[in-house]
Amino acid sequence: MRLEYTDKQNRFRAEVREWLREHVPREPLKSFDTEEGFAQHRAWERTLSTAGYSAVTWPKDMGGRGTDLVEWLIFEEEYWSAGAPLRVNQNGIFLLAPTLMEYGTEIQKRMILPRMATGEDVWAQAWSEPGAGSDMAAIRSKAVRDGDHYVITGQKTWSTRAVFADWAFGLFRTEEGSQRHHGLTFILFPLNLPGITRRPIRQLNGLPGFAEIFMDDVRVPVAYRLGEEGAGWNIAMATAGFERGLMLRSPARFQQTARLLAELLRRHPDRAAADPSLCDAVTQAWMGAEAYTLATYRTACRLAKGGHIGAEASTNKIFWSELDLQMHETAMRILGARGELMPEAPDAAGTGQWLDGFLFAQAGPIYAGTNEIQRNIIAERMLGLPR
C-alpha cells in the first residue's frame, strides 16, 4: 500500500489542471437536453479530444491518452474541480466503449471509437422497453436476419440522450421464440436510419432527457452487430457491470458537490445556527463522498493488479445514488423557502442549480437498475441468500 501519488501522476494532474484552466468555457453551457445545448456540448467534446482528454484511458490511436484508471480518477478530479461541462457522450464513452474494446472487432473499434472521442458521433443507450424496465430479459424487440442485414422491429424507451444523439446500442431478440436471456443480440444502429422514429420523453424538469425509439422494419447491416449472434445478454451484462460500477459516476462529482454544499452552508450561517443538524448533514455528505472515492481508488488499484468487478458494483450504485439524494436534500433544507424557485427565477439568487441537482438525484435510485434490484443482487450474489 502506498497512498501518495507518483511524480508522474502529479505531473499529469498539473497538465490537466493547466489545460482546463485555459479551455473550460467561462459561461456555463445550456442543458444538453436542448438542441442548442446539445450542439454546445458536442463542440466541447471535440475541444476535449484535441488534447486526448475526452477518453483518457483509451489508446492514443483511438483518440485517448492511454492512461490507467488512477490517472482517469485524477483527470476526473481536475475536471470536476474546474467546473467543466457535463459529458454529453457519457453513454458512449463510459458504457459502450469498454464493452466494444472487449467484444468489438478491430474494424468496429476503428470505425466507432475515434468518432466517439471527437463527439462526431454521440451515443444513446437503448436498453429498456415498455415491458422491460428493470427486467431487461423481458425484451421483445426483434432483429430478423435478411442477408447481410438485420431487420429490426420494436420499441425502446428511457433511452438517455436519444433525442439528439447519432447512434444507439441495445439488445434485440434474434432467435424467434427464445426466452429471457437467450437468443438476444447486441446491435449498434444509427438513429437516422429509415423506419426509426423518436419520441422525446420529458423529465421532471420538463426537458427531454430521454426518448422512446420506435423501429419499424429498420435495416441494420450485420457489421453493426457486437459479438456473436445470441451472445447479447452476456455482453450487455459486462456493460451493466461498468455502468453500475466504476465509471458511471466518478467520485469527483460527489466530492465537488460536497464541497459546494459546505460552501453553501458557510454562506448561510443563520441557517446553521437555527438548525445545527445541518452541520451534521454536511459532514455526513463529505464523509460519504470520501468513502466513495476511496472505494473507487481501491477498485481501480485492484483492477490494475488483474482483479475484476463483481457484485460490489451493486453496492456502488446504492451508495452513490443515496449519497446524491442526501446531499441535495440537505441543500434544499439550507435553502428553505427559496429552494422551490426555478433557476431562472429572479429571486433564486444563483442557487437554482441545487434544485436541478435535486430533481436529477431523484432518478439515481432508479436508473441503471433500481436499487431494489441492486439489493437483490447483493443479497443473492455477494451474500449467497436463496433466490
Partner: protein
C-alpha cells in the same frame, strides 16, 4: 373527550371530495398550469358554489361562519387534488385577518361579502414567506410591515414573478411603500394577528401536505398494482410493499396530530403554536417520504413529466417550506420540549386549559 368529527363535518368533506374528483382531474390541472395566470375563473366560481369561499365569513357578511376545524378537512381534500387556487389565502387567511382586525366596519363590509361570493381574491404577505402567492390576480393585498397590517391594491405595488418548481404556484416579489393610508391595523393587535395567520397558514399547508401524501401513495399503489416486471405486478414484491406501507404509517400518525392542532387553534389553546408546528413537521415528513417512495415504485415513470405523479410531488416539495420550513417549526417545538418549564409526559396532550406562555418570534 371526543376525538371524532361529527356527521355533518364528514358529510361536507365527502361532498367536497366528490366535487373535486370531478372538477379537478390532472388533465384540467395541467391546462390551468399552462395559462399565464395559473388560475381558472371557472374553477373559482365552482368553489364558491360549493360554499368554500364563504366558509369562514361570518353570517352577517353573507358567509356560513365555520371554524378552523371545518377547514382542516377541506384542506386535506384541496391537497389531495392539488387545487391551484388562492382559496386558502383569500377565504381562510385573509378572512381571518379581516374578521379579527380592529378596522372600521366599512372595510369589512367592502371585502367580506365579495370574498364570500367568490368575487374577490386577496393575497396575504406574511413575513415568513419571502414571496407573496397570487399577488398578480389579487384585488386586495394584505401585507406585513413591522407587525402592522397594510391593505393595498394591485396598482399600488410592483410585482416581479418568480417561477416555482410547482407550476401551480404563482409567486411574486412585492415592492411597495407603507404609509398611513395603507395601514389598516397597528402593530399592537397586528402582532397577534400575524401569529394567527402563521398558525393557520401552517395548519392549512399541513392538511394539504397530508392530502398530497395520500394522493402520491394512491398513485404509487395504482402503478404498483398494474405495472408488471419479472412476470408479476411490481406491487407483489415485498420491497415495493414496504415502501408504500411505510408511507401509510407516516400518514396514519400525522393525521391526528393535524387535527389536534386545528382544534388547538380553533380554541386558542396556549400550546397551539407548538401543536401546529408539530403538525407541519409531521405532515412534511410524510409528504417527503411519500414523494420519494412513490417516485421509486413508479420506476422510470416516476421522473417523467408525463406521469401525473410529478404534479403532486412538486407541490409537496414546495408547500413543505411555505409558512415556515422544517427548521422554523422544529425550533418552535424544540423551544417548548427542551425548555426547563416544559410540561411533557402522560396527561399533557390535551392540556388546553393550562396557561403557558407562547414563545414569541421576531419576524422580518
Amino acid at each position: 373527550m371526543d376525538f371524532t368529527f361529527d356527521d355533518q363535518q364528514l358529510a361536507f368533506r365527502d361532498a367536497i371530495r366528490k366535487f373535486l374528483m370531478v372538477e379537478a382531474a390532472p388533465e384540467m390541472l395541467r391546462e390551468v398550469w399552462e395559462t399565464h395566470s395559473g388560475r381558472s375563473a371557472e374553477l373559482r366560481g365552482k368553489l364558491a358554489d360549493q360554499g368554500l369561499t364563504a366558509l369562514s365569513v361570518p353570517e352577517e357578511f353573507g358567509g356560513i361562519g365555520q371554524t378552523d376545524l371545518d377547514w382542516i378537512l377541506v384542506h386535506q381534500e384541496l391537497g389531495y387534488y392539488a387545487i391551484p387556487d388562492s382559496l386558502t389565502d383569500t377565504a381562510y387567511l385573509a378572512v381571518y385577518l379581516l374578521n379579527n382586525m380592529p378596522c372600521d366596519l366599512a372595510f369589512k363590509r367592502q371585502w367580506l361579502p365579495r370574498i364570500a361570493e367568490g368575487r374577490a381574491r386577496v393575497a396575504v404577505g406574511h413575513p415568513l414567506n419571502p414571496l407573496v402567492s397570487d399577488a398578480e390576480m389579487a384585488d386586495l393585498l394584505l401585507l406585513w410591515h413591522d407587525d402592522e397590517v397594510h391593505a393595498l391594491t394591485r396598482e399600488q405595488v410592483k410585482l416581479t414573478a418568480n417561477a416555482s418548481i410547482d407550476m401551480s404556484r404563482r409567486l411574486f416579489r412585492v415592492e411597495w411603500t407603507p404609509s398611513r393610508d395603507t395601514r389598516v391595523c397597528p402593530a399592537s393587535p397586528g402582532r397577534e394577528l400575524w401569529d394567527g395567520v402563521l398558525n393557520r397558514g401552517a395548519l392549512a399547508l399541513s392538511a394539504q401536505l397530508l392530502g398530497l401524501t395520500h394522493r402520491m401513495l394512491d398513485l404509487g399503489v395504482d402503478h404498483a398494482a398494474q405495472r408488471k416486471q419479472f412476470g408479476k405486478p411490481v406491487g407483489s414484491f415485498q420491497a415495493v410493499k414496504h415502501h408504500l406501507a411505510d408511507v401509510a404509517v407516516k400518514a396514519e400518525f400525522a393525521e391526528p396530530v393535524i387535527h389536534r392542532a386545528a382544534y388547538a387553534v380553533a380554541n386558542e389553546w396556549p400550546q397551539r403554536a407548538t401543536f401546529v408546528s408539530q403538525a407541519k413537521l409531521m405532515a412534511g415528513e410524510a409528504a417527503r417520504l411519500s414523494a420519494r417512495h412513490s417516485i421509486q415504485v413508479h420506476g422510470a415513470m416516476g421522473y417523467t413529466w408525463e406521469a401525473d405523479l410529478q404534479m403532486f410531488v412538486k407541490r409537496a416539495w414546495a408547500l413543505d417550506s411555505a409558512y415556515g420550513d422544517s427548521i422554523f417549526h422544529k425550533q418552535r417545538v424544540a423551544g417548548q420540549v427542551l425548555g426547563v418549564d416544559a410540561r411533557l409526559g402522560p396527561g399533557e396532550s390535551f392540556a388546553g386549559g393550562i396557561e403557558r406562555p407562547m414563545k414569541g418570534i421576531q419576524y422580518g
